[in-house]
């Protein structure tokens, strides 16, 4: 390690605030790039599953289901 202590790594001779802020914000943005599609995929899969169940219910009770799925 270049720094003599963990404290030095955090402060970086007064530049720590800049460096760590840049690192943390960047990592948060990168994490969002991974989480966002996973979340939308999850919602979508549930949505499609609901569609399938609804269609099945409609097929099994073709006369009257009182608008329920």
């Amino acid at each position: 390690m270049y720094f003599s202590s963990f404290q030095d790594l955090l402060t970086m001779d007064g530049h720590g605030v800049y460096v760590w802020l840049a690192v943390i914000v960047s990592l948060v943005v990168l994490a969002w790039l991974v989480v966002a599609p996973l979340l939308s995929r999850r919602i979508l899969l549930k949505d499609i599953a609901r569609d399938i169940l609804r269609e099945r219910a409609r097929q099994s009770t073709p006369t009257d289901n009182h608008g329920e799925v």
């Binding site: 800049y18 599609p37 979508l44």
Partner: protein, 250 residues
Amino acid sequence: MSWQWFHRLGSPRWFYQTSTRWLPLLALIAAAVLITGLVWGLAVAPEDAKQGNSFRIIYIHVPASFLALAGYYIMAIAGAVGLIWKIKLSYMVMKSAAPIGAALTFIALFTGAIWGKPTWGTYWVWDARITSMLILLFLYLGVMALQYAYHSVDAASKAGAILALVGTVNIPIIYKSVDWWYTLHQPATIKLTSAPSMHMDMFLPLLVMIIGFYLFYAAALILHTRSEILRRERKTAWVRELVESKAEIY
């Protein structure tokens, strides 16, 4: 030789199923390379003689800027392929590339502003490089906005592709801005045509970070494209089978 591979490549189903196998491995390698590069750059590399430790922001700023630009090529080429060959998967890639590119451009601008404070004494100047990067961000946001501006998916894709292609005029301006208008932003540290103007102890972790960002970009683009494929193909038999095979839904 047949063109079968080309058509298979254009099949959303084939893309989805193949990426299911390879994405976890790619994501794992990307994460490992990024962590290695980040620890190396932040904690191991020596400090800069003039800038002190603030120069360590380079390990995020430069790779993010690289991918912000490379991502624009990918988005524009995907849009062009969609326009010329009417390949739907290509449009899905284009749509997916827009938010990723916007995020990377934001990172480049944000880390640049933070770096500017201790180095130049200001967060922002209307320097040519910085301004043209801001325009790049707006181009990405424009392509994103166009995806939601039309009722027809096809019309939205075409409009997005045309904006993406027109916007490529900005790319050489960004590259050349540091040479044409030499104001505050320094010229490129790394060039393909010459040796890096950096010591190896500083350059190697940067190289690792650039490779890491490329890998991350590939993984993120595949991930976004996969959920776009599901969204657009939700009525098809194969997506239905896929959902039905996931037992936890019932």
